[in-house]
Amino acid sequence: MITTLKFQYEPDEHEAEKASNSYVMSMVAIMGGLPMPVINLIATFFFYLGNRKGTFYVRWHCTQALLSQLFLIPFNSAGFWWTISIIFTPETISSKYIAYMITLFIFNLIEFVATIYTAIVTRKGQHVEWWVIGGLTNLICKA
């Protein structure tokens, strides 16, 4: 799911710190933003805006952090509105709903662990690309 690759150049200490911070930012926002998953997306988006004129390494990782947040948004939103409909409409709780919530939990957990791992390795100046998200970032973010 996560591949460590060689980046085009060796990022310096300052760049590694900023790139790592983009992942830390989304993690902190997850903790602060639960149960509204959109808050971490907004936080990561503002961090991305603040760094879009940064060096290529920083920009690349800010973009990957933002896209990683975007990826689960449709799934989390569906779960959120399903819950709301159970509370406020005749829709009732079902095994399908519980299964969906467990699925969401598993994939959000995977994303959370991957975010922590990526924050640690990018801090060391290593370059990691996520499954799907890494490829998309390469398409969007050009040197």
Binding site: F75, P90, S95, Y100, I102, V132
Partner: protein, 267 residues
Amino acid sequence: MKKILLELVLTIAVIVAVWFGLSQVDWMKLFNIRQTTQNTEEKIGDLFWKMLKNSETEITSDSIVAPIDSILIRICKANSIDRKKIKLHLLRKDEINAFALPGNHLVVYSGLITSCENEAELCGVIGHELAHIEKNHVMNKLVKEIGLSVLISISTGNGNSEAIKSALKQISSSAYDRKLETEADLTAVDYLEKAGIDPEPFANFLYRLADQSKNLPSQIYWISSHPESKERAEKIIERIKGNSFPKPEGKDSLRFERLKEKVNKGL
């Protein structure tokens, strides 16, 4: 680009597969959710019924209960609904009202029976309340209007009598939202059709009571708690347009007239 798309499709497929796989487990049974919900519902329903029974007069005469019960049996049988789970109660009260309580209690006031011009009208109202029970509208309404915490405190015996009274008032004399009322009407039409009963008198009943309620609003609870009655009647007529139903026989209307007489005499 192709590689990314393939990875994306694969990831979404994995998410859906995990969801599908987990859906095969009966989580409701595993977490005992249905049982807990049913227990709460039954406790609340029994409590409401006990309160009603203490404040109103229950009709227990077989000559009145049996014909209403036979209507219920007919609708339930034709729609594969377990009759045994429905707790039918008749109360002596002039208000034109019928309502469903949590825990499958179905309450019919004598005022409703005497205000119906024929059996099919009463069948429509019973079908409508049965639909509220079957579609789980009752608990949904209570949760929405008085809140889950109050309901839980009532079911655990910690609710005060004022809270119970107010919840009972909500369920017996206020409307469900328009979407639920329409759903109950159309489900009732389905029930009636399957039972071979013409739904048109049900629509007529709504029309008639909507007109009467202008003069006697406080008596006609069922209609005042079910707004937009004319609009609802039109929807029923629209739904059954072109369908034909067996006309009631003379002996049926005679039987219903006798039932009304007995209710009026207080037998």
